[in-house]
Symmetry: C2
DNA sequence: TATTCCGATAGTGAC
DNA sequence: GTCACTATCGGAATGAG
């Protein structure tokens, strides 16, 4: 299982016109940069919001506006490949996560990032950040408990923590893959990797793990237990509503390190969001002005990437 | 002036394929009923919302859905004739009524119903009922006063009352013209008029004057004094918002008989609408459900006409 | 705090 | 309550035989 996970983590950017995988630290062919530029250039806002699965194909969200060149270069997804809501997921309402835990194989690799006996990891159907994965425990008992109750079980909690570590590493790795070449602190590593004579030991580069958040929502709407693992930029097309933003930027998001919660911890019964929306990066108060906040977050994302 | 007004009142249904006017009680030719059926049939929802002016041409609001026959029969308005907002009116904001009082001749006859030295009567640009006229005093001093203050002047008030009587009669006459043939109580009169041997004295028919409302808004938004004169059905496409409805169905609408107001009358400083919306005809409470109310009002209009 | 659809609510800008 | 535009806010349904 760990071997499979490792392989996954190192799967580079994929399109149908690239080999399906390259090995761990292998030097990328220079021509790969063309593909990278066509789809990963955040300046063009065309990066995919999903982490590639084992046989994934690249896709673009509807909000993408590829220019003429990228339009020519990119692989047009077929209806089957398209990573859209399906009858099984969207129309199942609050039980929409059940199908993943029961039959992960029935979903396209763009949706299910990986799965093992105890967990399924998927790309959130409505990502609220550039990268947004869900870690779904498959245990059908724990599955339908409120997370605050399920995590009273020490063993289950520990299992989730272990798996969450892997998912966090996946997100960090994906951040580097997508944005590393725009990051000042990642540049030494990138340049070493792409040099004609790469060193045996790469420079560490940027610690993207610091830009990963995770935890459960104190009052989830979906009935199956899901652990959010996402980048902290909060920029995505489906990020539309006040509660979307606040659910990841307040203590409504409860990290696994807080569990088990005390019996009287208020996060066992969180009710609503009285708070203003504050930019996660600069702290500016946007009150309830979602449109203004979204513009601002897009700007902050660029700055954040360039760090 | 009175002669001109009388002529106006008796101008029958008009299209470009009919003579511009017929005299007072003159017997209508039978073929006129074809025109009446084509444009006045409320069952087809094709009546114009505007009262014809002296040289008016018939028009249809965008919401009209004429059937194939009426489509063939009717005169298609040109862009110039079209009774749409103009730069002069709409873009003048709160002063949009000024232009009518200053230069009524510059407007098409579909807009200005009539004018004399002291008053201009127009079709409301956004009618809130099947028929909705505005009586505009031209006096440039009184003009820009709040109506509650302007009507403290007894002579001005009396002048407005006299003119309002005429406008109310115009609206009543227009109601008969449009809806009389669908009205049970108006039928004896209609049948007498259309008979081969009409009596010298027509039966009185329905008293449409009872279906006319008028008055000023206690807190008008438009800066020029305007007296609303309208049918009580409250059915129109521009009737969209809660305040539209409540402004005509509560004591926010103040009839001229109430003036001059006592110095401390609350209607001198009306603030807001705390009220639910009640159907003017059956009293049903629609709370703040505007869509539901609109559906209901359309049904009530049909019943009301058939009375 | 699943989304989507519809509709009600609120602020602004027009000149 | 001038409208029109944008956006925010608020409830209800969401599947299927």
């Amino acid at each position: 299982m760990r071997g499979s996970f490792q392989a996954l983590r190192t799967i580079p950017f994929q399109t149908s016109i690239r080999p399906k995988s390259t090995k761990g630290r292998a030097k990328r062919p220079k021509m790969a940069s063309q593909n990278v530029a066509s789809a990963d250039d955040f300046g063009e806002h065309v990066e995919s919001t999903s982490v590639p699965g084992k046989q994934s194909t690249e896709r673009f969200p509807r909000s993408s506006r590829p220019n003429a060149f990228t339009e020519l270069m990119r692989h047009k997804p077929t209806a089957q490949e398209a990573d859209k809501p399906t009858q099984k997921t969207v129309f199942a309402g609050r039980d929409g996560l059940a199908a993943y835990t029961i039959d992960p194989e029935s979903f396209p690799p763009t949706r299910v990032v990986y799965h093992n006996e105890r967990f399924v990891v998927i790309n959130d159907l409505y990502p609220k950040a550039s990268i947004h994965l869900l870690l779904l425990p498959r245990d059908p008992i724990k599955n339908v408990m409120r997370p605050q109750d399920a995590f009273d079980d020490a063993q289950f909690l520990e299992d989730c923590r272990q798996e969450e570590k892997k998912v966090r590493a996946t997100v960090a790795s994906e951040l580097r893959r997508r944005f590393g070449k725009h990051s000042a602190s990642d540049r030494p590593r990138i340049e070493a990797m792409e040099s004609d004579d790469p060193p045996d030991e790469l420079p560490p580069g940027r610690d993207w793990a610091q830009d990963v958040m995770s935890g459960i929502h104190a009052n989830p709407s979906m009935s199956h237990l899901h652990i959010h693992v996402l980048s902290k930029d909060m920029v995505s097309e489906p990020m539309k509503k006040r509660n979307h933003y606040l659910s990841f930027t307040t203590d409504f998001l409860v990290g696994l390190e807080h569990f088990p919660l005390a019996k009287d911890d208020y996060r066992r019964r969180y009710t609503h969001f009285p708070e203003d929306m504050l930019c996660w990066r600069c702290g500016e108060n946007f009150g309830n002005k979602m449109s203004k906040l979204k513009e601002h977050l897009a700007m902050e994302k660029e700055q954040w990437i360039r760090e």
